[in-house]
């Protein structure tokens, strides 16, 4: 049976370890159906694309709860790193409870992954285990099988680190015999078909594994320093989150396929579902999963041309335009930020603006 396994790695702020992928996968199915009349192989897509959600939120949620997330513990840590100099934490304390909880539930995940090596490694081993289990479950016994990754936001950093370890760890030790086995997931023996990094923060949050120097890059199957056939870097011009260090590798041959979008169809510009709504994003993904000829180039061109920046009801809305102008300012601040606190401040302003956008659009 010819099948394609898609590993989906969530971003920051996810708290539902079981159902978090449902809405993103529902969006993927919805956008695929837009091309059903254009002979998209829907039956193949529904029956042979296996989605494997990768979850690590339970580790972060448990740790945050353990440290009593009203910032008592990490507050002290953040002060040690001079975040308080720019008043971000005062904003945190002064803002209303809903905003504060929302900011905290997102930022805490990023802080824990980026600044706490032990938690980071704990997450890595869990994600690697889930990917290996997915491959073992879906590949063993199959004659034809391909594998891709769709990662979002914080998940791009997690996916990048884990894929690098998965492909470059030389051996794995048998716990009972203590003998070592060759790593069966090195690029010699295994490769991913496509890696889609949406709101890519793998460079921004890099630690011991450098984003431009790892094996997580595209290349031909004979190139053992690459791990996938195609690498897509998906970015939104109004999403400041990846901005301080946008993903721009020098010297990659071949380079990543960059997909830049600027649509506003929902208040949560940063969400994976919002990115997937744009044909510029979902068509390459659908082609990777269902075959190059599943959506013709002419159909792709028509879909992209027909997709307007704003939803019909928001076109010409002055309030939306004002928010867009402010979002561009925030993006500029995030791009030029030199210190963590500036970036956090831009992120907080972004949250405030998308809250305004929600009020306008709903």
């Amino acid at each position: 049976m010819s099948r394609h396994v898609l590993f989906v790695v969530h971003g920051m702020g996810v708290t539902d370890p079981v159902g978090w992928a449902d809405s993103a996968m529902a969006k993927l199915m919805e956008v695929a159906k837009r091309y059903e009349q254009k002979h998209f192989p829907m039956a193949y897509f529904e029956n042979n694309v296996i989605v494997v959600p990768i979850n690590y939120s339970d580790i972060l949620t448990a740790k945050v709860a353990e440290w009593q997330t009203d910032a008592a513990g990490v507050d002290a840590f953040a002060r040690t790193n001079k975040v308080e100099d720019h008043g971000v934490l005062r904003w945190l304390e002064a803002s209303d409870d809903v905003q504060r909880k929302f900011l905290w539930s997102h930022i805490s995940h990023v802080i824990l992954y980026r600044f706490f090596p032990l938690i980071r490694e704990r997450i890595r081993v869990s994600v690697i285990r889930q990917i290996m289990e997915g491959i073992e479950r879906e590949f063993v016994g199959q004659t034809e099988c391909r594998c891709s990754v769709l990662a979002h936001s914080l998940g791009t950093s997690v996916a990048h680190d884990c894929l690098h370890i998965l492909g470059s760890n030389p051996t794995w030790k048998d716990p009972e015999t203590e003998k070592v086995w060759r790593n069966a997931f090195k690029p010699d023996d295994f490769r991913f078909s496509g890696i889609f990094m949406v709101a890519n923060v793998s460079r921004l949050l890099q630690t011991d594994i450098k984003a431009y120097e790892s094996i997580v890059r595209p290349g031909p199957s004979l190139d053992r320093s690459s791990y996938c056939a195609s690498y897509y870097d998906v970015r939104h011009t109004l999403d400041p989150i990846p901005m301080p260090f946008p993903f721009e590798p020098d010297g990659w041959q071949p380079g990543p396929d960059v997909i830049a979008v600027q649509h506003i169809r929902d208040w949560n510009i940063h969400s994976l579902e919002h990115y997937l709504d744009n044909p510029g994003v979902h068509i390459p993904l659908l082609r990777k999963l269902a075959g190059t000829r599943s959506i013709g180039h002419r159909d792709e061109h028509e879909a992209v041309q027909a997709y307007s920046q704003f939803a019909v009801e928001a076109i010409g809305d002055e309030n939306v335009q004002k928010i867009v102008t402010k979002l561009l300012d925030v993006v500029r601040i995030a791009k030029s930020s030199q210190a963590p606190a500036e970036y956090l401040s831009a992120f907080a302003q972004f949250l405030s603006l998308v809250d305004d956008l929600r009020e306008v659009l709903e």
């Binding site: 840590f77 716990p175 496509g194």
Partner: protein, 378 residues
């Protein structure tokens, strides 16, 4: 074969290609030329090219790891293929070349034990110095390309500017190639699957060790987690074997003073100033440790002593207090039993702690500490 005759053959094939017009196929019709086409749907029962049929037919050779013999037989079967390859001799020759290469590499494998697959054998099977992968179809979802980037590359078809598939092999030829190549890939994957299972077992064990350390081990406050992340060695397979406790507060009960008639039990807050925790067991599921600690209670001055940690939730120690708050440690010893609140909360919930009043002490103490930070910050 002379170079002249080779050139004549090539010219003949090219001539034939010009008169055998490739047939464009409209976009989106999934055919045997598409990478998403499922070969299972057209693999008729009894078709000896099918992966499942081949695996059953050569079960003894596979079980005995007699790969050289197996691939020689498969090569012979392709040479005897009833499909007409006369108009695509180049593609046929290239596939045979890859099969020859595969057989040659099998000769380098260590002699296997009949019916026994050893770890070293599987590793040798996969080691590229002694055995390169067959690598038939490319996996980048383009139209089917065999041995992509190599001298023996075979393209079954390509998509033109009008989104039409242009076939370079006939349907029978494409099917013949895909069935045989996928069968070989399936066979080649058998040792790979064994390695995958072994790798997975190792990673599952690694995750258990990490969970025992970080989720079930001696709890770490944020500053401790940060310090231990830099001060203790670890790998993705193995968490730290030990842990520092640094300024680690816990609620505790003190019984004492010892050897008096008026011994009482009193809640107290202990602060392990610096401690060492060591993990042991098959998956690091157990630990023990010691620390130098202080004790704070509301009815007497500072206490100083030591704590011994064992198991997942408790510790025991001895404290001496400054009875009269005159900067002299002058009390008789108190036995101190502390509870790892994080772990206990995970097991018993908050009600036990509330009952003993320990939660109240901890909350008030932490609130006082946060207030101190605020004061220092402003």
């Amino acid at each position: 074969m002379t170079s002249v005759s080779i050139r004549l053959r090539i010219a003949a094939v090219l001539f034939l290609l010009t008169i055998i017009k490739p047939v464009p196929v409209p976009a989106a019709e999934v055919t045997v030329y598409d990478i998403t086409f499922s070969l299972d749907t057209i693999c008729a029962a009894g078709d000896t090219r099918c992966p499942s049929e081949t695996k059953a037919r050569y079960a003894a050779l596979i079980g005995g790891n007699r790969w050289e013999v197996l691939f020689k037989k498969l090569k012979q079967e392709f040479e005897d293929s009833p499909v007409d390859w006369s108009n695509n001799e180049i593609a046929r020759r290239r596939f045979l070349n890859e099969l020859d290469s595969l057989v040659d590499r099998c000769k380098l494998l260590p002699q296997p034990l009949e019916g026994v697959a050893t770890r070293e054998y599987y590793d040798a099977f996969l080691e590229p110095l002694s055995f390169d992968r067959f690598k038939s179809e490319s996996n980048d979802s383009a139209d089917i390309v065999f041995f992509k980037g190599r001298g023996n590359q075979i393209v079954l078809g390509y998509t033109n500017a009008q989104d039409e598939l242009v076939k370079l092999l006939t349907e029978d030829q494409a099917l013949d190639l895909r069935l045989r190549a996928n069968t070989i890939k399936m066979l080649e994957d058998i040792p790979w699957h064994e390695s995958v299972k072994a790798n997975l077992k190792a990673v599952q064990h690694a995750e258990t060790r990490w969970a025992n350390y970080l989720d079930h081990g001696f709890s770490q406050y944020p500053w401790e987690a940060w310090i231990n992340g830099w001060a203790t060695p670890y790998t993705v397979e193995s968490p730290p074997g030990h842990q520092f406790a640094v300024l680690h507060p816990d609620a505790a009960l003190e019984l004492g003073p010892l050897r008096t008639d008026d011994a009482t039990v009193k809640e107290t807050l202990t602060l392990a100033v610096l401690g060492w925790i060591d993990y042991y067991g098959y998956a690091g599921e157990s630990f023990w440790g010691i620390s130098g600690a202080m004790s704070f209670r509301d009815d007497m001055g500072l206490g100083i002593g030591g704590l011994l940690y064992f198991g997942s939730t408790a510790s025991i120690g001895v404290m001496w207090h400054d009875r009269n708050r005159d900067a002299h440690i002058d009390s008789r010893p108190f036995i101190c039993v502390s509870l790892d609140l994080f772990r206990l909360a995970g097991v018993k919930g908050g009600s036990y702690l509330e009952k003993t009043g320990l939660l109240k002490i901890r909350r008030e103490t932490l609130e006082a500490k946060v207030a101190e930070y605020d004061k220092a910050g402003s």
